[in-house]
């Protein structure tokens, strides 16, 4: 079938519509979902089509997350909306001590098909408590899968796989990308968790990214092309499981890698990735793996400061220069 140009929000709503139609055990719960179809309008159409299956909750993040666990253990496939990813802090026990561990602690008796859907990221002048990107915490928590799509087509294919997965999945979408459009197939397609996409082929350097980082790489790659630097862009899409194969293949070709994410640099996912690459692909590398991420401060409110803290395409280009200089 044909592709349409639609937003990430529309892609999300479409995918969930299809999945909820297919499987009546799927439902969505969270704060302020019904009246505005989610706080970002991300569930447009769903409240009308699936009355009783989009559930408003009190402001009780710990219990909301725990409800996801309890419902998943008893035959449902809940999607838990965390409102803002910053508030995972209010449900960390339910996410990390319960959801992540219950199957393992039980010796594999049960499955936990639950998606924790978390809108994250900065750039909205929303300040320190509404702007974080916390995916790396969950990469450090065995038992969880971690998905961070960038383009609308990824959103559709990945949320479907996440919803069908029998394990707890953390699903992060950047708030500033909801309105961003791209081609999305009308097909009922899945993108398997754990498969990266080479979104632009190139031979000089590998840009490894996910979520909002992808668009920075796209922009940087265009600039670099003007300087005759041919960047390959690998959109990881899933951080756990991680597609090391695709990463390795790219670096075997380019011998240089730059990792880009919006989360603050220290302890971000780039750390894990850089550590693995320099270990597993040591002999392939002609330069150190560089990381681009937000500066290590909370996100400040005032625009010029916020912009200064966040990574830009120029930072990506500068990192590329640093690794291609050698």
């Amino acid at each position: 079938m044909t592709d349409r140009i639609i937003s990430s929000s529309a892609a999300l709503a479409e995918a969930l519509h299809e999945e909820m139609q297919r499987d009546e055990t799927i439902f969505i719960m969270g704060e302020d979902l019904v009246s505005h179809a989610g706080v970002f309008g991300q569930f447009k159409g769903l409240p009308e089509h699936f009355p009783g299956r989009i559930i408003d909750t009190p402001i009780s993040e710990a219990c909301i997350a725990g409800c996801g666990v309890g419902a998943a253990l008893t035959g449902m496939r809940p999607i838990v909306d965390f409102h803002f990813s910053d508030f995972v802090t209010c449900g960390m026990d339910e996410l990390c001590n319960q959801a992540a561990k219950i199957r393992y602690m039980s010796g594999g008796q049960v499955k936990l098909p639950v998606v924790f859907w978390c809108p994250d990221g900065a750039g909205l002048r929303a300040a320190a408590q509404h702007s974080q990107s916390l995916e790396s915490w969950f990469v450090h928590m065995p038992g969880l899968k971690v998905v961070v799509p960038s383009e609308p087509s990824d959103v559709k294919g990945l949320i479907k796989s996440a919803v069908r997965d029998d394990n707890p999945v953390m699903f992060f979408q950047h708030k500033k990308l909801f309105a961003r459009e791209g081609p999305v197939s009308e097909d009922d397609y899945l993108i398997p968790l754990g498969r990266a996409a080479v979104k632009k082929e190139g031979k000089d350097v590998t840009l490894l990214c996910y979520g909002a980082g992808y668009y920075l790489c796209e922009e940087a790659a265009e600039k670099l092309a003007g300087e005759k630097i041919d960047a390959e862009i690998v959109d990881l899409r899933t951080l756990k499981p991680l597609d090391m194969e695709t990463i390795a293949a790219s670096i075997a070709k380019t011998h240089r890698a730059v990792i880009v994410h919006e989360a603050c640099l220290t302890g971000g996912f780039g750390a894990e990735l850089a550590a693995r690459i320099q270990d597993e692909l040591f002999d392939e590398l002609d330069a150190p793996v560089k990381r681009v991420g937000a500066r290590d401060v909370p996100i400040p409110f005032s625009p010029a400061m916020e912009d200064f803290v966040l990574p830009r395409a120029d930072d990506v280009a500068a990192a590329v220069h640093a690794v291609t200089y050698r």
Binding site: C63, G66, C67, G70, L73, M76, G107
Partner: protein
């Protein structure tokens, strides 16, 4: 009448089973056969057995770090329980969970929990799931007096109430949370009064009187199955053993413990009732205790004979392929 007699005897047998299981666990722990730490429910048998006696196999139960009694009362297999405590391959969790994470999902036990009050948000999800699936199951969450001061309890009670979920919140108020007495940590003397803040019926029950517990639970179960919402039951009882096996218990006196033994002991109390009703006799008592001991011995033999997991087994059971 014969039917009733049978039921009463079954209650008695269950309580004895819990008591003997816990006694055995304490001994095997002391002997170094059980790794880690264990929390025993001796003295609290009326609560676990009384509540679970009102449940069907397809009802859900979430328990705590002090969960052996709830497991047994819900119908768990002693063999696999002991094997789990021993860390053996045939244990319920293949040795991955131990006492604190023991679970049998096939009989509706949605797990013990090492996080105090960790079960309350999960039971709320189970209740919601029942409501969405339109069955008449009920979901029971046991928790301690100490747990009542954690935030998730508040969130769960509110949510269960607004949605009228079929849940029994059962506090086992044994008056101590580790080294801390209820009267210090809790702003109210009687925990059931908090239920009013959620528009949930709350009741305090003599938690060492199994028939009183059963009566309260029965009422709550009927209410839940009828779709009328949750109930809060406070079973007032007492923890006879230390918080964990090996607890030096500097925080309380022997005489305080004594007060709750003998006459107040839930098994003794129930047996007095049954003797009076002529349901029990010395002979039946001996028979039950020895049958339970036999079953327990079998369970121990089973567990002893079960192999330890292979070290590499640690890598299994994290993710399910889907």
């Amino acid at each position: 009448m014969a039917e009733n007699r049978k039921k009463l005897l079954e209650l008695y047998r269950q309580m004895v089973t819990v008591r003997q299981f816990e006694t055995m666990a304490g001994e095997y722990f002391a002997a170094g056969k059980i790794p880690g730490f264990i929390h025993l429910s001796i003295g609290q048998e009326a609560s676990s057995v009384g509540v679970c006696s009102c449940l069907r196999p397809d009802d859900y139960v979430i328990t705590t770090h002090r969960g052996h009694g709830h497991m047994i009362a819900k119908g768990a297999d002693l063999k696999r329980m002991v094997a789990e405590l021993f860390g053996k391959k045939d244990g319920y969790c293949k040795g991955k969970g131990g006492s604190m994470h023991i679970a049998d999902y096939s009989i509706g036990i949605l797990g013990a929990n090492g996080v105090v009050a960790g079960g309350l948000p999960i039971i709320t999800g189970a209740g919601l799931s029942i409501k969405m699936r339109k069955t008449d199951q009920v979901a029971v969450c046991f928790f301690g007096d100490g747990a009542t001061n954690r935030g998730p309890v508040h969130e769960a009670m509110n949510m269960a109430s607004i949605w009228k979920l079929p849940i029994l919140f059962v506090v086992e108020n044994n008056q101590w949370a580790s080294t801390t007495p209820l009267e210090y940590a809790c702003s109210v003397e009687d925990l059931y009064v908090r239920a009013a803040g959620y528009n949930i019926p709350g009741e305090q029950v003599d938690g060492n009187d199994i028939l009183a517990v059963q009566k309260a639970a029965e009422k709550a179960v009927i209410r839940a199955r009828a779709g009328e919402g949750p109930t809060f039951i406070e079973n007032k009882t007492y923890r006879i053993k230390g918080h964990y096996e090996g607890d030096p218990q500097k925080y309380r006196t022997d005489s305080e413990i004594k007060k709750w033994q003998d006459k107040k002991d839930p098994i003794n109390r129930f047996s007095r009732v049954l003797f009076k009703k002529r349901v029990l006799s010395k002979k039946i008592v001996d028979q039950i205790w020895s049958e339970v001991q036999t079953a327990l011995n079998e369970a121990i033999t089973f567990a002893e004979n079960s192999p330890f997991p292979q070290p590499e087994d640690a890598m299994a059971d994290l993710y399910i392929n889907s």
